[in-house]
Subunit: 307 residues, 2 copies
């Protein structure tokens, strides 16, 4: 049997076929923003999926289902609720149902992208064998997926695990977040947040992306190194706060910033241990995803099917 996995992002929608061993045997993508019309989007993606299945020499009878990771997706209803970066209007978009109709009625499960990433790590990645861990995705925003006793935490409405929106700065001048509040973790520790810090600090230097800050730091630029230290410090303090909630065995970091290596990990680990409540000190690992970027999103979403 095979599973289909799909990751819906503000920029790209990536999808593919995954076998039981976790190998992506075929994948494709579309630009999400090219399809402001929802019906056209679902039809186009479904056609491309059918082509992939045909190309792989298999049929719908060999497909156990489709797993979708998407921002603001609810696991319980199979809908996307008010996702600010997706092009479709409406409070609640029943994507699971729409795709199932186009794809021979196969079961479709949805969850938010960070939860999908957590499932991917648990099924195929560094979290294999862990019962209690928290996935933190450091991308455009900060996403999270919480696993307790080997199970994804969905909460009453399927929206649990929005740890990027823990308030880490309660001062009136704290940064404004896309969610409408101030001081959320993601305004400081996402790639976007770090770029914001860099633009404030590195006068006269053009910063196009977090890679620019990384390059400067690797060249020994003291301000750029301090920006990583500060980002790691804020992240580490927030991780220590998350520990008092579920006492996880590990955090798994994923996304652009997580690839900065010790530049970010060292200050994060130090701040986490320093801020940790004594009974939890020295017990929580800080891991980095080892899944290939190109495959991680599809793998994670496909893992929903095997749950």
């Amino acid at each position: 049997m095979y599973a289909l996995g799909m990751d819906i992002g503000g920029t790209n929608t990536v999808f593919g076929i995954v076998n039981r061993e976790g190998t992506v045997i075929g994948s494709d993508s579309v630009k999400t923003q090219d399809y402001p019309d929802l019906e056209e989007y679902v039809n186009t993606v479904s056609s491309k999926i059918k082509a992939l299945i045909e190309g792989a020499g298999i049929s719908f009878d060999d497909i156990a289902g489709l797993g979708i990771g998407a921002p603001n997706a609810s696991y319980y209803t199979g809908t996307i609720e008010k996702a600010p970066n997706l092009p479709w209007k409406g409070e609640s978009i029943p994507l699971a149902e729409l795709f199932s109709k186009q794809l021979s009625g196969i079961p479709v499960k949805m969850t938010n992208d960070a939860n999908a990433a957590a499932l991917g790590e648990m099924t195929y990645g560094v979290a294999k064998g862990l019962k209690h861990f928290i996935m933190i995705t450091l991308g455009t925003g900060v996403g999270s997926g919480i696993v307790i006793d080997g199970k994804m935490v969905y909460g009453k409405d399927g929206f649990a695990g929005e740890l990027g929106h823990l308030i880490v700065d309660r001062s009136p001048e704290a940064r404004l977040c896309g969610c409408g509040r101030r001081g959320c973790l993601e305004t400081y520790c996402s790639a976007t947040g770090m770029i914001r810090t860099a633009r404030e600090r590195l006068q006269g230097v053009t910063i196009n992306g977090s890679k620019d800050v990384y390059d400067l730091a690797m060249q020994g630029n003291a301000d750029a190194i301090e920006i990583f230290n500060e980002t790691g410090r804020r992240l580490g303090q927030a991780l220590a706060d998350m520990v008092v909630f579920s006492s996880p065995e590990a955090f798994v970091l994923f996304g652009g910033l997580a690839k900065s290596g010790e530049l970010l990990l060292k200050p994060t680990r130090e701040a986490m241990e320093e801020s940790m409540m004594p009974i939890f000190k020295g017990k929580t690992k800080l891991l980095v995803s080892t899944l290939k970027d190109a495959d991680a999103a599809v793998l994670g979403a496909s893992a929903l099917v095997w749950q």
Copy 2:
């Protein structure tokens, strides 16, 4: 069948026999601090429990087990780890084993006191029927018990749910906490924390307990009312942060401060809703325990037996 319940606190150890319907059919207590010798403590309490059983006209064959709620108790090992307010020395005290030996070998389960309270509310109180809720005990400290999908969250080591130690003030002048860090929720929102605030604000007034602040507020003292507002505001903001973790249906408040009614609940509810991430707004109830004080601790601990 019956269950035994025991609550071990820094001041008192309370224990009793509970029937399947949740009625405490007999109870007794000792002063914990009167027994610095662990063996003498276990022997005395066990004798009193045997007397209760005899007095009720039942035998050990009718007892399904003993549940113990105690600070820093681990569910997995049945031990108490480094509890600062208990009189016994040693890193790890195997209380479950010691009591089982004295009580005809009945099964003994332990968890921390706030987790026991959560089980009590779920089995006999306002959380009956809820699948996702967080218990917050506002006493000498702030304790918590997290229930997700109808199950207690214990984490990798049995110590999950220490939400009283979320850091709510990261400034250097934040209050010092018993855990050795600064700015923990419990330094502001426990009864002790509110007394600290009152002593800072109410010059020339002797404050012996949180009841004094309550009485002043009920008499219309503006400063005392503002102390409740501020305590509620801090608590509400922290509750909003907890919501992004597990998206609970409700918080259940218990303990001395929770009995202050709308004086505390109104500012708490307002701050919680105001601080809430938009997708969670208006979805989380703020409930107050309805279990009788005298019975709640024993009932909660006894509920461990039926899990």
